[in-house]
């Protein structure tokens, strides 16, 4: 560790030169809304290959020798801005960029355009444009960042209509989902058909497919970094939308013009309102809705300081009369303080709170009971970004998180057949320090290397059991409050490198290790709100994943087309799978239900994107394999993981027909998941029972879907604008298998049959959106 620090210092000083240099720094913002733009670039035209992009807060800093320069600030979808400066002292310079007008006859200015695809050092990164998300047709017309991400190569949905996702063969729990730096433990509403992200409140979405920068960690497969909008700091805006099953309302505006702003965004579904009208007593007693609220405020305290407050609260309610009810939801809160120690040293300090819980209430006759479960985090996070000079950038910091898990408490209101149960709470502390150095020795070559050192400690109080390999309890020990049960420490090195072959093409390579200390237990084929998070312990070791990747990146036609091929290989340790029919709910001995082993995943991803013009969209194709080798499953041989889907193809097209109309379409094809189907049957105690042999040896049928959407821009003035969105999900009406079960044929009890259930066919939707500006 000490050697590494010394090395950082040496490299940094070596690359510093004695010539007098000055720093240009500032923010790049949207000229209309005052929103900081994340990932916008500033180039120095006179110094080829010199540029810097803005960080998550829209800040940039670049240090160059004294002289006369032309600075170009640019961001995708915005008109570039060119400014001349005479640099004789360190200068603060903010850029206000204006969004491209959608004039169809406009000849798009050629010249340098965003070539981020080729020039950035990072690979395996997907950035989503919120405007793009809004144009893509989706189920029930509810725009959704997660569902759009699922259309990118290397990202797959967990099941039909689900917002759970798999990245490069990783499990659904191996994605770190951050909303303004707070972990979101369950990113889905309505059992997965909607994500918790309200696209009205979102500014930026970045997905790192495993080779994430050192500041992120704690999950094996990916980081989904979602940033909320800060709110318009110039005008008050009331906007919203009314859809078939949900409505949204968004209000934002300045607290003080140019100094601070706020945003409040809320959603509510009302499918249950229609259910009440039903005559069916089964339907009209049902409760089924969710709501969520995003709140954010920020204020500039001076030249060097800015504070942000952001919060999210969401709740799902599902129930049936008085007999059954479940509600679940996330709450997150973040307090952030941005501070400039100097024009080269940016600091961000965060206090983060995150909570996920569910509450089930059941009453059947005499039995009336309630089950609650919760996971809660408190974090302190400190990040520094040190823009040393054009060739060196240093990032370092730490994060410390206290986890508290309530696995399940059952309270019975009556003396029925069910007695109270209270599973002991789990307490853990997760820490990480990181340092990362980005070096650009010359125009063609750049690399970034870093180290994240993470640790995890599980604390008492409580009785902790030790199990043998067959899941039998062999030992138990009592720990007092605050006594460490088990500690793990993992160094996680990360390296990225890029070499520019020609001005329009580059190759990149990367390696990264990630450790994961929390595991989600779920043995349903689709996610469930009652899935349980468990900490690493004396039995469950932290998951480790080493990912190697290599890619070729090429832009065509003045950067209007982007092409990339990326291959990856992942080596995973301490993977978890379940014993047959694992009992995961309210089980004090839940760790006895697990089997451990290793995993591997490899694949190749092709992407062709068109980012500008009347027609935009992309084609993504992934060929991949994901396998596990677990003691006790399939006699310890390699077998396909549930998320193994060899072929995955997505095509997305958005075409601007006229100023008024935009048409969009998506097409999805993938191989069915690996599943366990019966291989025979027998009779026992009057029941027909299926015979199973190998885990995951069969496949669900292939999945094919085509969606179409139209957006009609209504009247548009300075003060008021509206639009209509029409879409049809699964327009081919294909019956894609959601589940396949094997019941006895009800018409002929002498036979069994394979019964396929499909969920959505020809689901039309219409949404009306509006926006008032004052």
């Amino acid at each position: 560790m000490r050697n590494a620090a010394l090395f950082f210092c040496l490299v940094s000083t070596f690359l510093l030169s004695a010539q007098s240099k000055y720093t240009v720094s500032g923010y790049i913002k949207d000229s209309k809304t005052g929103e900081e733009l994340i990932g916008a670039t500033v180039r120095i035209n006179e110094l080829a290959g010199t540029g810097v992009s803005t960080n998550s807060y829209g800040f940039y800093s670049i240090t160059i020798p004294e002289g006369e320069y032309t600075l170009t600030a640019q961001f995708i979808g915005y008109d570039p801005k060119v400014t001349k400066i005479s640099l004789k002292q360190s200068t603060k310079m903010d850029f206000l960029l204006t969004e491209h007008s959608k004039d169809l006859n406009e000849v798009v200015v050629t010249g340098e355009r965003n070539d981020h695809n080729v020039s950035s050092t990072q690979m395996g990164v997907e950035k989503l444009n919120i405007e793009e998300i809004k144009a893509i047709p989706v189920l029930f017309g509810e725009q959704d960042v997660v569902k759009t991400l699922q259309l990118l190569p290397g990202v797959m949905n967990v099941g039909e209509g689900s917002t759970g996702f798999y990245v490069r063969g990783g499990g659904a729990d191996q994605n770190l989902i951050l909303l303004d730096e707070a972990t979101v433990y369950n990113a889905s509403h309505l059992l997965g058909f909607f994500s918790v992200f309200n696209s009205d409140a979102i500014k930026d979405v970045t997905l790192y497919k495993g080779n994430q920068p050192s500041e992120f960690g704690g999950r094996l497969s990916s980081v989904l970094d979602v940033k909320m909008k800060d709110g318009n700091d110039q005008n008050y805006i009331l906007s919203g939308g009314i859809g078939l099953i949900a409505s949204r309302l968004n209000f934002e505006g300045p607290i003080k013009k140019g100094k601070g702003s706020f945003l409040i965004s809320a959603r509510r579904t009302y499918a249950d309102a229609f259910l009440k009208l039903s005559r069916d007593s089964m339907l009209n007693q049902a409760k089924l809705y969710f709501y969520d609220i995003n709140v954010k405020a920020n204020y500039i305290l001076g030249d060097r300081d800015r504070v942000y407050l952001s919060g999210y609260f969401g709740k799902d309610v599902l129930g049936f009369g008085d007999t059954f009810g479940i509600n679940w939801g996330n709450a997150t809160g973040t307090v952030r303080w941005n501070h400039l120690f100097s024009d080269k040293l940016f600091s961000n300090t965060c206090l983060v709170f995150s909570n996920y819980d569910y509450d089930i209430n059941i009453s059947f006759g005499l039995d009336n009971f309630d089950i609650i479960s919760r996971i809660q985090d408190y974090s302190l996070k400190q990040d520094y970004q040190y823009y040393i000079n054009t060739k060196n950038k240093l990032k370092f910091g730490f994060i410390s998180t206290y986890h508290q898990i309530i696995p399940g408490v059952l309270t019975s209101a009556t003396d029925g057949a069910i007695s109270d149960r209270d599973l002991p709470n789990k307490y853990a502390l997760e820490n990480a320090v990181y340092i990362s150095h980005e070096v650009t020795p010359n125009e063609k070559f750049s690399f970034e290397y870093g180290l994240r050192l993470s640790s995890f400690t599980l604390f008492g109080p409580g009785e902790f059991y030790t199990y043998n390999t067959s899941g039998a309890k062999i030992d138990s020990a009592n720990y007092s409050s605050g006594q460490a049960v088990q500690t793990y420490v993992n160094p996680e090195p990360r390296v990225d490198a890029k070499y520019i072959l020609t001005p329009t093409s580059s190759i990149k390579a990367s390696y990264g290790r990630n450790a994961q200390y929390l595991h989600l237990l779920s043995n349903s084929t689709s996610g469930n709100p009652t899935d349980l998070w468990i900490p690493s312990s004396n039995n469950v070791k932290p998951g480790l994943c080493d990912q190697f990747s290599l890619g070729y990146f090429r832009n065509f036609k003045d950067n209007s087309y982007e092409f990339s091929v990326e291959t990856y290989y992942k080596d995973m340790q301490n993977m978890v799978d379940y014993r047959n029919y694992a009992q995961l709910t309210l089980n004090s001995y839940v760790e006895s239900q697990l089997e451990y082993g290793i995993g591997r995943a490899y694949g190749i991803e092709f992407t062709l994107k068109k980012k500008i013009g009347r027609f935009t969209g992309w084609i993504g194709y992934t060929l991949s394999k994901t396998e596990l080798q677990i003691n006790g499953i399939n006699n310890g041989s390699w077998y396909p993981a549930t998320q193994d889907r060899p072929n995955d193809l997505s095509v997305v097209g958005i075409y601007t027909l006229s100023k008024k109309w935009t048409v969009s379409s998506t097409f999805v094809y993938y191989t069915g998941n690996a599943v366990t189907f019966p291989t025979g049957k027998y009779e026992y105690a009057g029941n027909i029972v299926e015979v199973y042999s190998e885990r995951n040896e069969s496949r669900m049928p292939d999945y094919i879907r085509l969606d179409i959407g139209f957006t009609m821009q209504g009247k548009k003035t300075e003060k008021y604008e509206t639009s209509w969105n029409f879409s049809c999900y699964n327009v081919l009406g294909r019956e894609n298998a959601y589940t396949i079960t094997f019941p006895v044929n009800p018409n002929n009890v002498n036979e069994t049959e394979a019964l396929q259930t499909s969920l959505f066919r020809w689901v039309p939707s219409v949404t009306w959106n509006f926006k008032f500006t004052k």
Binding site: S524, G680, Y684, V689, Y692, Q756
Partner: protein, 277 residues
């Protein structure tokens, strides 16, 4: 249970779901031996039934195993070769099941040897058997089937027993209506209520019980292995017929060696009958 309720609700309400029968190209395994046998503390003969599994797309006709050698012995050295009574049934003639003993079943069939053991716990009497016709509505009960929403009269049997304590005890309930044994699987354990009174609702998902029927409930006191077997058997059946798919299905946890299916159990049995009015 919760999972089922959630998904049934959601699927029924929100979604234009549809179902169809599909023909899958399923892998098939060679026929496997299926054992169904009990030794009880009641007078014999005890019957061990041997059949074979068939491929999924074959008819539900399960061939009996005719020429097997079936031997039953206990841990005190008593041994008996069972008599082939035809139809895959093998009967004991002298052996008397006794609580506390461990019984081992050994089968030689089609050139392979299979064996399994089970220990017989002492019997626990049924304290009461009551009937309740106000049940019904959504769900239909704990251990049994689900999906009933028929407004027809729906009887729920409640069996009550006094757990003797003294460690873990496991129970299975068998419901016989007018001489017909129901195939619902009902099990209970004292895991969370050692030594207390246990009530178990037996709630048929069908409405085949009508006034005038005579219903007998058999309470089997079973060992842990038998309990686990029926627990996982129940999940296998639910998984195949229900709406919910688990990602980790498998064969129920049998106590028989050599990949045999089914179970051999030694249990004590008590019964109580009631007439539906």
């Amino acid at each position: 249970m919760i999972k089922i309720a959630l998904i049934v609700l959601l699927s029924g309400i929100l979604i234009s779901s549809c179902q169809k029968v599909v023909t899958l190209n399923l892998a098939s395994t060679p026929p496997q031996l299926v054992v169904n046998g009990f030794v009880t503390d009641q007078p014999g003969p005890y019957t061990i039934n041997l059949t074979q599994s068939v491929a999924f797309y074959q008819d539900n006709v399960f061939p009996a195993v005719a020429n097997a050698k079936v031997v039953l012995n206990d841990n005190l050295g008593n041994s008996e070769t069972l008599i082939n009574a035809g139809n895959g049934n093998y009967n004991s003639s002298v052996l008397q099941g006794t609580p506390g003993r461990t019984y081992t079943l050994t089968i030689v069939a089609n050139g392979s040897t299979y064996s399994g053991s089970s220990t017989m716990p002492p019997g626990v009497p049924i304290q009461s058997l009551t009937i309740d016709s106000t049940g019904g509505g959504f769900g239909g009960g704990y251990g049994g089937g689900h999906g009933s929403s028929a407004p027809a009269k729906h009887y729920t049997l409640t069996v009550t027993l006094q757990d003797p304590g003294g460690g873990a005890n496991y129970y299975r309930f068998v419901e016989v209506v007018e001489g017909v044994t129901k195939n619902n699987i009902y099990i209970a354990s004292n895991a969370y209520q050692v030594g207390s009174q246990i009530s178990k609702k037996l709630s048929s998902s069908d409405t085949s019980i009508v006034a005038g029927d005579s219903v007998t409930v058999y309470l089997q006191t079973i060992d842990y292995g038998t309990y686990e077997y029926f627990n996982t058997l129940n999940q296998t059946i639910q998984n195949a017929s229900g709406f919910v798919q688990v990602s980790d299905p498998g064969n129920p946890a049998s106590n028989l060696s050599n990949n045999a299916l089914g179970y051999f159990s030694a249990c004590s049995v008590r019964k109580m009958s009631i007439l539906i009015k």
